[in-house]
């Protein structure tokens, strides 16, 4: 109900809620995110089954197993997928497994080299012997298929322009048949499907996915059908994995902020919907 008073309209509470300034919403969201970062709440983080399945599989891999790590994420989604990549790589190094980093995303290999590798290097790990970064793989799915058939056909040199044949670790790794696991940390549905088609079907390589939260409804059927061994659900999955491996870091620390953010958004959704329902009742009442 509005009434004119000295040329201005006095808005009722429902109208104010419906027309709430977006800057007020951002203010509450910033407070909800910043407070747990400054003063952690320590909320419990239960571990989900897909995360546990990844952990168990990697724990049971023999030492020296070769793992393909697809850093299929660019700078735009690094906040969400980067922690998954970091903690999975950390687990590989802890268990003396040998990761091969590759990316069909232009800046994926660069992001892994700049933000993942510097944190992971354990004493005694040597590039070329304990891990390799093969850089950007052009050609999308045909490129990935050719890489799976013969690595040096599409990647003659690594990220640092060293011939692949000169790398100690790659002397016995010629194709996807030599991979014991493929970890695909990706920001889109298309990337992990490529690896499913070209690695899991053709070479029986087990696939594990580090995915964004909005990919989970589409990814979960592949987990249920056992085509994907397990997956990390964005930042939450990375936090769960950090707790499992004992390497608490950014992801575990950020989950409190994620929880409070979702609480604020949930409250705003409920308030908005209540206002809408109240408006409907008010209109019906005025109509009768």
């Amino acid at each position: 109900m509005t009434e004119t008073k000295t040329g201005t309209e006095k808005q009722d509470i429902l109208t104010k809620i419906e027309n709430l300034d977006v800057r007020i919403i951002y203010f509450f969201v910033i407070i909800a995110v910043a407070y747990p970062i400054i003063s952690p709440l320590g909320l419990p983080i239960p571990t989900s089954e897909p995360t546990m399945d990844i952990y168990d599989f990697i724990e049971n891999l023999p030492e020296g197993s070769v793992v393909l790590v697809g850093s299929e994420v660019g700078a735009g989604a690094w906040s969400e997928i980067g922690p998954s990549l970091n903690i999975l790589m950390q687990h590989l190094f802890d268990n003396n497994l040998k990761p091969i980093i590759i990316s069909s995303v232009v800046d994926g290999a660069m992001m892994a080299e700049m933000y993942t590798i510097p944190k992971m290097i354990a004493p005694g790990k040597v590039y070329g012997t304990d891990w390799v970064n093969l850089g950007y793989l052009a050609g999308a799915e045909p490129g990935i298929a050719a890489f799976a058939t013969q690595i040096t056909s599409v990647k003659p040199v690594d990220y640092f322009d060293t011939p692949v044949e000169d790398l100690e670790m790659m002397k016995n790794v010629k194709s996807a048949a030599d991979f014991d696991l493929a970890i695909i940390c990706t920001w889109g549905d298309y990337e992990y499907l490529q690896y499913l088609r070209q690695y899991a079907i053709r070479f029986d390589v087990p696939i594990v996915v580090g995915a964004k939260s909005d990919m989970i409804p589409g990814l979960h059927p592949f987990y249920e059908s056992k085509q994907v061994l397990g997956y990390l659900n964005g930042l939450r999955g990375a936090g769960e994995y950090e707790i499992l491996t004992g390497h608490l870091g950014y992801a575990a620390a950020s989950l409190d902020a994620s929880s409070t953010y979702h609480l604020v958004v949930f409250a705003l959704i409920v308030i908005g919907n209540l206002a809408m329902v109240a408006r409907m009742f008010t209109k019906n009442k005025e109509g009768t």
């Binding site: 977006v22 800057r23 951002y26 969201v29 995110v33 910043a34 970062i37 400054i38 660019g74 700078a75 735009g76 989604a77 690094w78 906040s79 969400e80 232009v106 800046d107 660069m110 950007y136 052009a138 999308a140 799915e141 045909p142 298929a145 599409v154 990647k155 003659p156 040199v157 322009d161 499907l193 490529q194 499913l196 088609r197 070209q198 899991a200 079907i201 053709r202 964004k212 939260s213 909005d214 990919m215 989970i216 409804p217 589409g218 059927p221 592949f222 249920e224 059908s225 056992k226 085509q227 964005g234 930042l235 939450r236 620390a253 950020s254 902020a257 994620s258 953010y261 979702h262 958004v265």
Partner: protein
């Protein structure tokens, strides 16, 4: 010194992007164009490096078959010519064809057969919770498939099943939206964490 400078630039760009909340402004545009320009620039350099490593170097090393691939690839640039633009269709056709070819050999197994197999779930010999969950899955699967069945008009009970499929799709879209919310929140949390822990705390001596 370069680390500190990089940090300040990151802070400026982060706050500039977030200033969009107030209104579109010149700082937001600077940050947006910087991101686009940097991404495109890096992609161009990476592309040139790939051509050099997988194309030029093998040709210089004696792999003459790569010369054919190189020439076919260069044909793409003929699209800028009105007279010879038709030649650009050949490399594009090769790319599309090879992509479809390598993908389609595994699509039936990955996206269809394995998913159909996974939908055969037990409803006896399992716990009540799992049995109910499997029945719900079966109902939503059949009703959603029927929703997209448009060969004949669905009437009576078939129409009701189709409506159930529509509601199932609504629940799915709700789940997708929830995931989108979580994804966007993570990106926002990343930036706020950077501003607080990598900028504000060190500046205040609280690091």
């Amino acid at each position: 010194m370069w680390d500190i400078l990089g940090n300040w630039i990151s802070v400026f760009l982060t706050i500039a992007i977030m200033s969009f909340v107030i209104d579109e402004n010149v700082f937001y545009r600077i940050a947006e164009y910087t991101m686009v320009g940097g991404t495109v620039g890096y992609a161009i350099v990476t592309g040139i490096k790939v051509v050099l490593n997988t194309g030029i170097s093998p040709i210089m090393g004696g792999d003459t078959y790569m010369l054919l691939a190189f020439v076919v690839g260069l044909l793409i640039f003929t699209r800028y010519s009105k007279q010879y633009g038709y030649l650009s269709r050949w490399p594009i056709a090769l790319m599309v064809g090879s992509g479809l070819g390598v993908a389609s050999r595994a699509i039936p197994e990955v996206s269809i057969i394995a998913q159909i197999k996974a939908s055969f779930l037990p409803i006896v010999g399992v716990s009540w919770g799992i049995a109910i969950s499997n029945i719900i899955l079966l109902i939503t699967l059949i009703s959603t498939l029927l929703y997209f069945f448009m060969t004949v008009e669905l009437k009576g009970s078939l129409r009701h099943i189709s409506v159930t499929g529509r509601y199932s799709l609504m629940i799915l879209f709700g789940a997708y939206w929830g995931g989108q919310l979580a994804s966007r929140s993570t990106l926002f949390i990343g930036r706020i964490t950077f501003l607080i822990k990598d900028f504000l705390f060190p500046m205040l001596g609280l690091a």
